[in-house]
């Protein structure tokens, strides 16, 4: 897990739902199947809702990690168009 290299990173700190997911979804739509998106965020609610919505859309959540007092990183692999 430590050596997953994201193909694209977005910083959505400061955004709240549903824009956290809207931005993440728009980013992953632009990527190719198999690529990994890294999402940096600080809205706690979205650390649960983004992984759930990404899985509902058929993608694979690889990691949800708190990296400091305020921020999280989510890694999602695009599984389908």
């Amino acid at each position: 897990m430590q050596d997953i290299r994201p193909d694209k990173s977005i910083n959505i700190k400061g955004l709240v739902c549903p824009y956290t997911f809207v931005k993440s979804k728009l980013a992953i739509e632009e990527m190719a199947v198999g690529e990994v998106l890294e999402i940096l965020l600080d809205y706690p609610e979205a650390t649960r809702s983004i992984p759930k919505s990404m899985e509902d859309h058929g993608h694979r959540v690889l990691k949800v990690e708190k990296i400091n007092d305020t921020d999280w990183i989510i890694l999602v692999r695009k599984e389908r168009e």
């Binding site: 549903p18 997911f21 728009l26």
Partner: protein, 268 residues
């Protein structure tokens, strides 16, 4: 094209739908839809399509707003009595959504202008109030292979159907010829409760958006009938008629004819 922050907010409830997403929203923004009529049906259809972000909306209407229209034609208002309906709809829809360009066409459709007009759009919506126009629009759309979302209302009943030429039925598969003027309801009989065109128009707008998004099943080969008093929806199967004079296997209508007849001029 990337979305602006404003667009991300405006369309966020579309974008989060798996069936739409950013890609679907871009299809909506790039779509060109022609509304025939800015009356009872055209107003709600146009309202929802403008809100959804349909980038180009053409509106054909040569009529001016009358006080008696305002009980159901929700894109217009009291101050605009006397204004052309297509112009009024343009003001309303462009104020709702700055992404939308409305092209008012202040003409009556006829066999000489319709082909040119509809050729510039992806989908046609019929909200017209008379049979000659209904048949003219049907025949022109079949001849050009243009999808047509048709709606009709009378008193407490509404009808919606989606015509995909050659794939499904057309209006003439159902009724080969317009009814003779004597069988059409007279002015005194042609009342309508104002919310009815809202229901039917919203269904038409939904059909248009499904076609743009290529999602779900369009109402092809199907007539949806809404009975408002009973709150009942009925689906009637309408198979394509191989002997249909315009979309059949050996069509007899291969160019547009004259459609005018002496109907009551009551406007829906």
């Amino acid at each position: 094209m990337d979305f602006t922050d404003e667009q991300i907010h405006r369309y966020s409830r579309h974008i989060i739908l798996p069936e739409v997403g950013g890609k679907g929203q871009k299809k909506i923004l790039n779509a060109k839809v022609l509304l025939v009529g800015a009356g009872g049906l055209g107003c709600p259809v146009g309202y929802y399509l403008a809100a959804a972000g349909v980038g180009t909306i053409g509106i054909v209407d040569s009529d001016t707003i009358e006080l008696s229209n305002l009980q159901r034609q929700i894109a217009h208002n009291t101050e605009r009595i006397g204004m052309n309906k297509a112009e009024s709809a343009k003001l309303t829809f462009e104020a709702l959504n700055t992404d939308v360009k409305v092209i008012p066409i202040k003409e009556r459709l006829n066999k000489d202008n319709i082909m040119d007009i509809i050729s510039q759009y992806d989908i046609v919506v019929d909200g017209s109030d008379n049979f000659p126009t209904r048949y003219l629009v049907n025949d022109a759309c079949v001849l050009q292979g243009k999808p047509l979302v048709s709606g009709a209302i009378l008193r407490f009943e509404g009808q919606v159907t989606t015509i995909i030429p050659k794939e499904g039925h057309c209006y003439r598969c159902l009724f080969e010829e317009p009814p003779p003027p004597g069988l059409v309801p007279s002015c005194q009989e042609a009342g309508v409760l104002g919310a009815l065109p809202g229901v039917v128009g919203a269904l038409q707008a939904m059909e248009v958006l499904k076609l743009i998004l290529e999602q779900g099943e369009p109402l092809k080969n199907t007539l949806l009938i809404y009975n408002a008093l009973q709150t009942e929806f009925r689906r009637v199967k309408i198979p394509r008629n191989p002997d249909c004079p315009v979309c059949g296997d050996n069509p007899t209508i291969t160019e547009l004819q004259d459609y005018e007849a002496d109907y009551c001029q009551m406007r829906f």
